[in-house]
């Protein structure tokens, strides 16, 4: 890149480039310098060193490059630095969040925490756990999935296989709109719907499930739609040419081919709503014991449990961290299983 013909040198003078290892050298130098400066001023902390080092690095590299390589190269180096820093900066909350949840949550997390409920736990008692909240979360989320998965799959089938004209475009638009409904509004909707029908004091798991279903359905529709569109048209035509009616083609060829992707999409949608807190806070509330009746009475759920324990303070905060750890483990498990399903059960693409 630096070799230029003699005629061209008059137009673009070939400037020396910094060696390719220079960013690393600058990074190391900047960190050392930052450490020394902080050592002189006060006591250096890892965060402070990295922060100051980053600033020193960006300034030093850009200035040096400007002197040696010219303005254009300097700008290029600055942009590379900033873009890389942006990514690194995004890792800070992720790493610190996971780290705090794991370290703080580990204090209380364990088999007995997972296996007990909150009956008879008060004050600064160290007993108590999340068994009832795990059950409630699973129960309500399953109910939400039972509502939204069939509707979501059928709507996606409508959009991909049947939908034409204004209605299809309208439904597509409304699905987008539905994706943007704030979770608290979904909670208010479920609350209003059920209290109008069953009276103002009605509280039940199904209310929470309905609210979660409102949030989950558009996510399911979008991912199933995407999967159905990935099924090559040739397979539909192959089935039609065999005298298979359209609906059987959809069920036995299209859905069958897309099933791994659909399962993945549904699991990711479940993972998305399983941590929803606000709608459950409004509709389902919290109790101390397992409630197996979806249609009557409050239920405990992990997110609401974590929030309530946090607001109580004291030992509750420890329980809140442990509940958060439990919740994150469930969510991560769902994510991992979902990715494995799509990796191992997708049909191998035919050439």
């Amino acid at each position: 890149m630096t070799t230029t013909t003699p005629e061209l040198t008059s137009v673009t003078p070939a400037r020396t480039r910094l060696p390719s290892w220079s960013p690393w050298a600058f990074a190391a130098g900047s960190l050392v310098l930052a450490f020394l400066v902080l050592l002189v001023l006060s006591s250096p902390t890892p965060a402070g060193v990295v922060l100051l080092g980053a600033v020193v690095y960006a300034v030093a590299l850009t200035v040096t490059s400007r002197v040696v390589e010219g303005e254009r190269r300097a700008n290029d180096r600055l942009a590379t630095t900033l873009v890389t820093f942006a990514f690194a900066l995004a890792l800070v909350p992720l790493v610190s969040l996971l780290w705090t949840v794991i370290t703080e949550g580990a204090a209380r997390f364990g088999p007995s925490f997972l296996n007990t409920n909150m009956v008879g736990v008060f004050g600064e008692m160290t007993e108590g756990g999340v068994y009832h909240a795990i059950m409630g979360t699973l129960y309500i989320t399953l109910a939400a999935a039972a509502i939204s998965v069939p509707i979501g799959i059928l709507t996606a089938i409508y959009l991909v296989e049947y939908g034409r004209g204004h209605l299809a475009r309208g439904v597509t638009f409304l699905v987008d709109v539905m994706t943007g409904i704030p979770s608290i509004v979904a909670g208010l909707f479920a609350f209003t719907l059920f209290t109008l029908v069953f009276g103002p004091a009605y509280r039940a798991g199904i209310m929470g499930a309905a609210a979660l279903a409102v949030l989950m359905t558009p996510v399911v529709i979008r991912s199933v739609e995407e999967m159905l569109r990935l099924v090559p048209n040739e397979l539909r035509e192959a089935a039609y040419a065999l005298g298979v009616p359209k609906w059987l083609t959809i069920i036995k060829v299209v859905l069958r081919t897309a099933i791994a992707g659909i399962v993945t999409g549904v699991m990711l949608a479940v993972a998305r709503v399983i941590g929803e807190t606000a709608p459950l806070l409004l509709t389902v509330g919290i109790v101390a014991d397992v409630n197996w009746d979806l249609f009557d009475g409050r239920m405990a759920t992990l997110p609401v449990y974590a929030y309530r324990q946090y607001s109580q303070g004291g030992i509750g905060v420890e329980r809140a961290w442990a509940a958060a750890l439990t919740l994150i483990l469930i969510v991560m498990l769902l994510n991992i299983v979902a990715r494995l399903v799509s990796r191992y059960f997708s049909p191998k693409a035919s050439r």
């Binding site: 873009v83 807190t277 409004l282």
Partner: protein, 328 residues
């Protein structure tokens, strides 16, 4: 030849003549089609029901007299607008601050993944950012209140000491339960969605333009500025709008971090100045009854309308863009 001797296949006696049937695919086929159309219509009905029920329950509060409203203990105003105004202000302030923090970061991350990171790593790095979206909001709330707020404390002290002459940064009081902390957490929460959309559009930037720019001797940054950023501008705008919609409706992070107040205030570091609609509903709803429920639902309706407008605007930009570029 073998195919001449047809093995008996059960249940196809009338195979030789096209059957006299008008129906396309028979009863089951039609039933299936109606079922799928019905599911599509159900989406329409659900949205209408969300709007309808909220209006229905909010109506008493919207039409109540000032005296009735003042009977609600926490209702510090004589009109509904007077009550919801500061909440809308707080919601918008927190969300816009979050956007201000998140958009430049997200554009940088998206560029890093699409044009700077080694190609083999790009997809995994995308997954890492997507992980941020998988974390439940209540966990963000815990993290923001118990880790981020103490961590930011020295920085905020420094800001109010050295930048305190700017009113924005005046009067910090620990703990850092102020709107800036809440906005930072919101920014982290909306980072993945903005990054994901921006990454998509940056990857769609015409490869030919990029190569043309490089062939002209442009540096990588000049190539990005000439060929990638102009192409992705509308995509980034609509992604920001989607992120804004997400931030407006986020409840838990604000509820757990922000110490609430009902003022039109630009003091970003002072506690007790702001509150968002969603967090306000979540904090008051469990103890509310009667007219106060209606009042809270009415604020929820306002939130619904605002997010709807923001999301529709985002979708409108996306659809306009796809008309222009011919790429969907």
């Amino acid at each position: 030849m073998a195919v001449l001797s047809p093995p008996k296949v059960g249940g196809r006696p009338d195979q030789q003549e096209p059957r006299a049937r008008r129906s396309k695919g028979g009863l089951a086929g039609r039933l299936f089609e109606y079922l799928s159309v019905g599911a599509g219509l159900l989406i329409l009905v659900t949205l209408a029901a969300v709007a309808g029920f909220l209006v229905l329950r909010a109506w008493p509060a919207l039409t109540a007299s000032p005296e009735e409203l003042q009977e609600i203990s926490w209702f510090g105003s004589s009109t509904f607008l007077g009550y919801v105004g500061p909440l809308i202000f707080g919601t918008l302030l927190a969300s816009l601050l979050a956007l201000l923090i998140a958009v430049p970061l997200a554009v940088g991350i998206a560029l890093f993944i699409s044009h700077y990171a080694p190609r083999r790593l790009a997809q995994s790095l995308g997954y890492v950012i997507d992980l941020l979206a998988a974390i439940p909001s209540v966990v963000y709330g815990l993290w923001g209140a118990l880790w981020l707020a103490p961590t930011l404390d020295p920085a905020f002290r420094w800001m109010t000491d050295f930048l305190g002459w700017i009113p924005l940064f005046e009067g910090y009081q620990p703990p850092a339960k102020n709107v800036l902390t809440a906005s930072i957490v919101l920014a982290v929460m909306i980072l993945p969605i903005i990054t994901a959309v921006a990454r998509e559009v940056f990857l769609q930037a015409p490869r030919l333009h990029e190569e043309a720019a490089l062939a002209l001797g442009a540096t990588r940054w000049e190539m990005v500025r000439m060929a990638v950023l102009p192409f992705g501008r509308s995509g980034v705008i609509s992604a920001s709008m989607l992120g804004l919609g997400r931030a407006l409706g986020e409840t838990m992070a604000v509820l757990m971090i922000l110490s609430p107040g009902f003022l039109y205030s630009f003091f970003l570091l002072k506690p007790g100045q702001h509150q968002s609609i969603a967090a306000n509903i979540a904090s008051k709803f469990p103890e509310a009854s009667g007219l106060s429920v209606s009042a809270l639902i009415a604020t929820g309706l306002a939130l619904f309308v605002i997010t709807l407008a923001v999301n529709m605007f985002a979708r409108w930009i996306i659809s306009r863009r796809s008309e222009f570029s011919g790429a969907n």
